[in-house]
Symmetry: C2
DNA sequence: CGTGATATTGAATTGCATCAAGCTAAGTGG
DNA sequence: CCACTTAGCTTGATGCAATTCAATATCACG
C-alpha cells in the first residue's frame, strides 16, 4: 500500500454495499457475494491523491463506491488530457496490458474496492450473468468515448462546455426536468479544461459569457445552476 | 438487403476464412465453426457505399474480412468526425442500443460477414473462450479510443498527422523496421482530416511541409513513404 | 486576517480554419 | 485518342477562435 491511502476494515459485506446496484458486481448473484467480499479491499483516498499511475505495473483494478475519480494521460511536456471522470458504480484501471495506461486521481474523497487485476476475468468466467453485463458496459463505455471524440474533434469551446454541463447536470434527455437545479462540480477549472481539450481561461470565459446571457448562474465556482436548459440543449447541438 | 450491396454465395466455410485468425471468431473453437458459417452472410460493398447508417435500427453487426471501413458520426450541420477505420479482423456496428450510433462506409471494396445483432451475445454465452477474447478486445479498443482522445484534445496538427502516418504505416514500436516502406492510404485527405479533427487543407499543408523537410515523400496522393522514422517518432511525441 | 491556490479578466498572439483559386488525375464520351 | 468534365488535392491570402502571457480578484484554510 502506498503512503497515504487508507484501508478500512473489510467488515462491510458486499451484500449491503450502496454502490452495488450500479456496479459491475451488481450482476453477481447473491451466492457469489461472500467470496467477492473476501477478494476485495475497501480503500479510501483523499482529494488529489493518486490512485494508480500511468506506466506503473498494473496489479489491481478498482470500483468506485463513493466520490469522483479522474483518469488522465499526460504527455512528456506536461500536456494532459482527462479521459473521463468515474462516479460511484464505475470501475477503472482495467488494463489489457501489464501497465496502467492512465493515471487515476481522486477528485474528491473517494472510497473504492480494490481487486487483483486477474480477478475480473475469473469472476466473468464464474458468473455468466456478469459476463453479459460486462459486455454491455464495455459497449456503453465505447459509445461514451466516441461521443467525446466528436466533442474534441469537432465542437467549439462553447459547445463543449454546454455539453459538459448538460451531461453532468441534466437528467438524461428529459427536457425541463433539470432546469434550475444546482450542479456541484467538484473538479477545478483546469480539470474541466483538461477534459474538454481547452485551457482553464477559456472555460472561465465561456462560463461567464453563458452567465451574462442568463443561460446559467455561477454562484461559487464549484456550483452552477442551469437556467435555460432548452436553449442550452440547442447550443450543445448534436 | 439495400440497393447495391452484394451477397455472395455462402459456400465458403468459416474454417477456411483468411481473416479468421485476427477476428473475434478466431476464438471460436473448430466445433463451433459450422454453426457459425450458417449464421453469417458474406456481403460485399463497393467504395463509398454506406454499410450501416447512424440512427437506423441496429439489426446486424459486421466483421471485416477484407478492405477498409470508416466509422463516423455527423452533426446536424454537416461536421463529421471519423471514429475509426476498421481493417480485416475488426468488427463494427456492435451497439448496445437499438440504433446504430455511427455510420459505417466502405473506404475500399469491402467484404464483410454480417450477423444478427443478438448473435454476439449468444455466441459469447456458448463459448467461454470467445468471451475472454471479447473482453480483451474491448479493453484494447478502449485504449485506442483513449489514445485518440489525447490526440484530438491536446496535439497539434503536425503531431496528429505524424501519429497517423506512424500508426498506419510503421510496424508497432520497433524503430527503424518501417523506414522507406510505402504506405498506401486509400482514404481521402478529407477522411484523414475528419479522423484527426482537422481540415483537408491543413492535412495537405502539413504533408507537403513534412515532405519539404525530407521526413516523408508523397509520390501520388495515396502513397506516402516514411524517410526519417526516428525523427517522425520524436515529432509525434508521447 | 493573511497566505497560497484557484479563478477571472484583459491584451496580444497564433495555429488552424475559411475562402478562393488553380492544379492534377481519372474518367467519359465523341 | 483527345477535349471535356469532375472530384480530389495543393497552395495562397485572410480571418478568427482559442491560446498565451499577464495582472488582478476571489476563495479556502490555517
Amino acid at each position: 500500500m502506498t503512503a497515504g491511502e487508507r484501508s478500512t476494515d473489510n467488515g462491510i459485506e458486499c451484500a449491503g454495499c450502496p454502490a452495488r446496484a450500479q456496479s459491475f458486481c451488481g450482476a453477481i448473484p447473491g451466492r457469489g457475494l461472500e467470496a467477492l467480499s473476501r477478494s476485495r479491499q475497501l480503500i479510501q483516498f483523499y482529494r488529489r491523491q493518486t490512485i494508480v499511475c500511468q506506466g506503473a505495473p498494473a496489479v489491481s483494478f478498482f470500483n468506485v463506491v463513493s466520490g469522483i475519480v479522474k483518469l488522465y494521460r499526460s504527455l512528456s511536456d506536461g500536456r494532459t488530457q482527462i479521459i473521463g471522470f468515474c462516479f460511484p458504480g464505475d470501475f477503472f484501471a482495467t488494463s489489457e496490458t501489464d501497465k496502467y495506461s492512465t493515471t487515476a486521481e481522486a477528485v474528491t474523497f473517494v472510497e473504492t474496492c480494490r481487486f487483483p487485476r486477474s480477478r475480473l476475468k475469473r469472476l466473468a468466467h464464474q458468473f455468466p450473468e456478469l459476463q453479459t453485463s460486462l459486455m454491455e458496459r464495455s459497449f456503453r463505455h465505447a459509445a461514451i468515448l466516441e461521443d467525446q471524440l466528436v466533442l474534441l474533434g469537432r465542437m467549439t469551446a462553447r459547445e463543449r462546455i454546454v455539453r459538459f454541463l448538460l451531461r453532468y447536470g441534466a437528467g438524461p434527455e428529459d427536457t425541463k426536468a433539470s432546469a434550475g437545479r444546482h450542479i456541484h462540480l467538484p473538479m477545478t477549472r483546469t480539470d474541466i479544461a483538461d477534459f474538454l481539450g481547452l485551457t482553464s481561461e477559456t472555460v472561465s470565459r465561456v462560463l461567464t459569457s453563458l452567465a451574462r446571457e442568463n443561460l446559467i448562474t455561477v454562484s461559487v465556482s464549484h456550483s452552477v445552476r442551469l437556467i435555460n436548459v432548452e436553449l442550452l440543449r440547442r447550443i450543445s447541438c448534436k
